[in-house]
Amino acid sequence: MMAVQNSAEKIVVSGFRHFFDTEDGPVQATGEINLKIAAGEFVTLAGPSGCGKTTLLKAMAGFLRPTEGAIHCDGKLVTQPGRERGVVFQELAILPWRTVRRNIGHGLEIAGMPKAERDEKVARLIELIGLGGFEDRYPHELSGGMRQRVAVARTWAADPDVILMDEPFAAVDAMTRLTLQEELARLCAATRKTVFFITHSVDEAVFLGDRVLVMTRRPGTIKATIEVPRRSPGGRDWESFTTDPAMQSIAEQVLRMVRAERGAADADEKREAAVAAPP
């Protein structure tokens, strides 16, 4: 099926469907999903909660085997986690017993990079994310925004081709989130990684993505794909985003689609509740 593989395609999801085994039998987590992500592309995925976004990302990361279909990365079937696919989680996943420096350098340490080289590379990243002076602090001594910066830096330090991000800024306060988003946009523009980013924030999806995917309610499928025109890396800040009519009209379009799915999901729930407990 995947005989012809375009070399520019980094990730190919074909015929993906997933079911979870529960005590009441299998529950469908996603509908059929087909998706291609080009090398260097920043794809964001927005959708109502519970639509299967995280399930898709976990399968891409290799944490779970799809019930149906396949996921290929660089033409190779994904069967387990790998260094070429970094993951940034919504929950804080940096280790509380490691200092900032040792957390960020963890992937390099695993890869067997000599300490001197590792320290140099980590020091550069620490400067880049503005954590200079905090190298030897433990995570519990940092603010939420700083911790998430460390998590992002740890993934970047390991230099994967693909970075999968599952609502990484959801637990940070709103003001810090804006800064982190701008920093991420700059970091991606500078390093040309392939990024797959899950969010339930429409603005975040449009602000960060080269392409925004909108997912339907559960069992989720991809409802629409919206291309976002390229902006100059220097122009990626929230001020210019909110004043750009083209961007705002895209955001509005995405918002309308996501809301329609949300509304439909609510209606589904009400109907199910009515069936379960007739008046």
Binding site: Q80, G86, V87, H106, G107, I110, Y138
Partner: protein
Amino acid sequence: MSIAIAPRAAARPLPSGLRVAARQLSGVKILIPFIALVGVWWAIREAGQFPERVLVSPARVWDTLVVLASHGVLAEYISTSMSMIGIAAVISLAIGVPIGFLIGSNRYAARGLEAFLRYLQGVSGIAWLPLVIIWFGFTHTTTLVIVIYTLIVPIIFNTMTGVRAVPEHYALALRSLGASRLRLITDVYLPGALPSIVVGLRLGMGYGWRALIAAEMLVRQGGLGDLIFGARTSGQIDRIIGGMILIGTLYIIVNRLLVQPLENLTIARWGVLRK
């Protein structure tokens, strides 16, 4: 501590001399119940005019301890008990932590064995004594088996719960950084479970110390339990009470000098389980 009671004192940092005095005062506070106990003991003894074979005075116990210490007898009994608990702790950690890891890393094993481990905790080490004496006789081996049995169950149990409490995404994140299974154990599960292992060790040392004294009383091969039980047969109340005081004191020392520093090192610094 009590410094903060007066709002003005709390607002202004205390002069360092005063702060030292306050700390010394809190040290005295720890001693107050002990002093009160000795006082009550002394008062009862004075009021009741008990004969020497029923109750002796605190001063008499002190004299006996000094005499025993000067003859080197005390050192002998103490070193037997201390080396027993030390050896038992090392062996229990060496065996208990890997077992706890094995059980903890398997969801089904953990669920299946939890009730069993609780059951074993119910059948205390002392309850095993008759059987173990039949197997190993009145030897140090018997004492060690009893103490290790008592120590190892909380270590296994807490290692298991510690491993299971490590958030799943710590391991997932590391796997996507290319970590091997061994890496996950050394970098995620072992440090993640360490605070819990230390808690297990502390609990185990408490139970183990009590089991040790009890086993020594029956096995009679040295140690503080042997000291006080031996003194009973010859009616030496002063030795019995002196031995009891030592048992409590040594327990505090072991806890303060060994277990608490370990706990501070892991728990407080990592902020995993902040007090």
